[in-house]
Every structure is written in structure tokens, then in C-alpha cells.
Subunit: 343 residues, 2 copies
Amino acid sequence: MPAPSSPITQKHTPPYYWGIDIGGTSMKCGLVDHEGHTVSFEQIPTEEAAGPQAAVKRLTKLMVETEQRTGTTGLVKRIGMGAPGPMDLPRGLLVAPPQLPTWNDFPIVSRLSEATGRGVSFLNDANAAAYGEFWLGSGAKQSSMILLTLGTGVGGGIIVENELLNGVNSFGSECGHILVDSAPDAQLCGWGGGRGQLEAYASATGVATIARSRLQTAPDSQLHRCLDAEGEGLTSKQVHDAAVAGDQLALSIVDETARWLGIAITTLVHTVDPGNVVLGGAMDFGGAECPVGKRFLDGIRSEFRERTFPNVYAGTTIRFATLGSDAGYLGAAGYAKKEAATP
Amino acid sequence: MPAPSSPITQKHTPPYYWGIDIGGTSMKCGLVDHEGHTVSFEQIPTEEAAGPQAAVKRLTKLMVETEQRTGTTGLVKRIGMGAPGPMDLPRGLLVAPPQLPTWNDFPIVSRLSEATGRGVSFLNDANAAAYGEFWLGSGAKQSSMILLTLGTGVGGGIIVENELLNGVNSFGSECGHILVDSAPDAQLCGWGGGRGQLEAYASATGVATIARSRLQTAPDSQLHRCLDAEGEGLTSKQVHDAAVAGDQLALSIVDETARWLGIAITTLVHTVDPGNVVLGGAMDFGGAECPVGKRFLDGIRSEFRERTFPNVYAGTTIRFATLGSDAGYLGAAGYAKKEAATP
């Protein structure tokens, strides 16, 4: 169990909110107070094969027990739940979700609401992470923000004047699927379509694919050693490690990834002009703590500066996220708080 | 004076709002009732050289006289004013606007407000047009919408859940400046930067430039006749006319423009998922009334379908605007109405 970014504390302010971050393998469950302090955090297996009704039971049990233990019974106002898409937000269910096939079309929101007797705010997991950073992380005290999550894929979340863009088709801010490369032979996204879309360039998968395709041009690169007997393998983490060791090919891939992100951020900023762009997810080349991560961020800023207007560049910060993998449950709780306050 | 799209009628519903659409050469001034009917419409010269204070005087005089004539004195609630950017919305002024150099840094909102004794809602002209289509045109009765205006440049406006995206740097929804072409030799926008941005491809200027660059490849095209002695000239209107006459080069340029717009719309929809995309402006290849305009729209839809997800394609309409050049003043009035209602 990872330590939550917002420390579990004895001093907390009622009312409380549950933030649930559903994933393909585990469900993160945080009980969060009104100011965003985590009262209790637990990560339990999703057990996807057992189906969503079993998950509802285990979530409900966890909530009841946790509230008894922490003395918050009767003080929890609402549940927020983020889940991977595709989803139908108004109907409160997932639609053919590749990570959770047994959950397809199951009315998860109404069932969890019935089981707990509480209202459930439902949102896309990347949007939940964005709302978490917006409430408590890198976007705190701002009115608008874009989060790009660089992981196995690329997700995104957009907040404009304190409102999350969920989208008319529950497809709001799928920033991994904006176009960055118009070349006819541009890379394809994992979903099989989406030629030239950001996810094919700035995800862990995309970076590894690009690195493999560049190996021929760099016979001396240490990345050759990462390939397995079939010529496969080689991960974005290995690209990062090689870049830290000064490998030229690895560094050029960091720079190239930064360039694609700079293009994507230009397009996103010219669309919603949020003033703040935050980069989250594990595929951050070490983030703010690492010289390669710093080079990555500088490269992104430099490409953005070249493509935008001086006043827009000056009025837009680009930085790394601070909540790590806690952003999802914290954002789900924060969104529940927001919806509880909305008449 | 063009006939307003919403006919001037004797039956109107108080209160009233002024919608002012400021342009480099003229100012459109519409007195609009609560339901969007135009009570009076006048277009007066901007007289940019005389400066903005003179414009404030003439606008104020026009308002007083019109209200006396139409019996609406005392019934006008607020003024909406759209203007070309760049601008600083919170400060209520234009910043180095290329079309209105004498207006630079002049506090137009506070001066107009002082002169008329009324509140002034200030917005970007393309955003005003978007709000007009959203209130009374192709986006009516929807919750969200994107407008792309295809004119000398490409502008845009985005409404999400009834709220206009104005942007933190007053740069919201500059959709002409999203990336569509990542090639190193991609075309440049008029502002001198912005390589590969939509405006260089889907504006009247962009289409004419592309047509000229393709002439060599099509010796039989009737577009050769449009060039002047210097090899210049050739407008997007002439490309449209030639396409109507069946000219193959002209038709291929219509198709190419559609392809770039399909790419741009994919990116915009994957960012905000509005369910509705509306195409306005004169560079519409004849729009819905014309077979070439229909082919243009079909081409856009087809490119979008290829690049997006089936449910997003199914959940998104793309159509032409219906308010023509009245969208700006109507949207400014509608936005004034909206802001008058906001506590």
C-alpha cells in the first residue's frame, strides 16, 4: 500500500467523502475530509472476474468498517467514483471497458448508491486525477487546468472555471487522442485507429515503440542490451535509465517525446486557454526530481514557446503533478464534495 | 445593410439588450429582445482613424436615438460587445489589435459603460458569433457547441454546458491555431508563426495559397485564368466557382480543405466532446445550399469518422451555421442577457 500524498492525520474536518478509484486490478478507497486530508486509505483487489456486484459488496463492507473504526459513521456525505472508460456518465455505467469486461453495462452507480444509501458522483478516472491535482495538487488555487497523464496510455482531464469537462458523450478531454502527427505513416494508437494521435507518441508504450524503431540508427546505444531474444522488450523506464546514464539515443527520444507534447499542449492551450498545464503519470522521465525529467519539461516548454503567442506563453505554466497515484481517489472525493454542494 | 437573420418584428418581449459587433471597418449594432428577436439593426462605420472615444460617442448617440424611436427607453438591461482580439477581457480592452490599432489599451468597456450608464459584457468576436449560433442558430437547444468560423482567418468559439470558454489569458478557443499538419515544411499562419496550424489550411487566405501552389500540377485547370499579370490573385471564392463548374483541381482543394477540417474537428471533439460542431463564415464553399458545400461537409464528416470512435462519431453532429454575419451581434446581445441574469 503506497503512502497517501496527503498524510493521514488525526485532525480532520467533517463532513467526509469517499473517493474510489477503480482500476483493472485494484480499487483505491480513500476516506477524505472536507479539506482534502485523508482519514483512511486502503487498496483492495478489483477481482474483475468476480463481477461488479461482488465489488459493490466489498466496497460497502470496507466503507462501513472504516467509518466505524474512524468514528465517522453518519458524517460521510457522498461518494465519488472514478473508473476507466469508455463510459456513459448520465446512465452511470461502463460501456465495453477493455480493462473491466465483466462491468459492461452494469449500473454501478445506482447499485453502489442503493447499497450504501448515499449519492455517488461518477467520473472518468483521468478526469478524477485532474480534479485531484486541481483541488489539492499542482493546480490548487487556480480556476482552470489541464492534466495530461502519461502512463501506459495518455489520458487527460480539463477543468475550466472550476468545472470539469465531462463531455456530451462522456468523452470529454480524451487528450491522448488529439492529433500531433499528420504524416501518412504516423504511428497508430493502441485502440487500432487514431493515426498520429498523442497517445502513440507520449505514452510508455509509444516511447518504447519509438525507441525500438530507432535502434538501428544507433549501434552504440545501451538500449540494445534491453531487447530480449525475440527483439522485443525495451520499456520507457529503460529509456529513462539510459538517458540518465547519458545514452545519446535515449536522450534524443526524451527530446522527441517533449516535442510531441509541446505540440499537443499548444493545441490544447489554444482550445481552452487554462493558464495551467500539469503533467502526471509514471512516464515523466523522473519528473521534477531528475535532470532528465527537467530536460523533458524544458523541451516541452521550448516547443510550446515556439508555436504559441508570447502573451499566451507568459500566461501559461507547465509543471509536473504532485499527488502521484493518489490523485484519482482524492479527485473523486473532491468531486463528490463539489457535487454535494451543488443545489 | 444586410437583412438580419432574425426578422425585425413588432412583437417583442422586454427587456432588451444591445449587441454590438465591432470590426475593423464597421460596427454592427442590434437592439435585441429577450427572446432574440431583432428590434432594430444598424451598421455604422468604425472610423478607426478617429479613435475609440469617437466610436463610443457615436455608439451612445445611436443607442439613445434608437431607443427613443422604438419606444424601448428604460427597458434596455445591458450591452454585449464583441471585438477582434487580442484582448484582455478582465481589463475590458484590446491589446495591440491589428485591425484596430488606435484602440490599443483604450478602456473601451468602462468608457462605453460610463457613457451609457449600463453594464457591458465584453467578449471576443468569434466567441460572440459562437454564442449567437448557440442561442438562436445551429446550436440552439443544445448544452454545448463548437463554432469554427472560416473567413479571412479561422476563428472559433466553444460553449460547454452553457458557458463560453473565454480562457484565462482571454485566448479561449482560438481554434484557428490548433495543429493539423506536423510536416516540417507545413504552411505558416498569417501571424508569422504557427506552422501547420488550422488557419493556414482552412481560411480563405490558406485555400487561395494552396490553390496557387497546386496550379503547376494541373495545366488544364480554369483557375489559371484567375491569376493576374504578376501571377498573384486567385481567391477562395474563385476556387469555389471553379469547383461548381466541375474543375478537378478546385474540387481536389475542396476535398483537401475538408480533410484538414476533419482532423481539426477530431482534435477539438476529443478535447471538449461538445456533441455539436458548427461551421460558419464565408469560406464554406457555398454551404448547405450548394452541391460543393455539401461535398465539403461530407468530406469533413468522413475524415472525422475515420479518426474517432464510433460512439463519438454517432454522438456528434457537424453542420453549417444559419445566422450568417448576424451571429456576432446576436451572440453579443445573448451574452449580455446571460450575464444580466447571473447574480
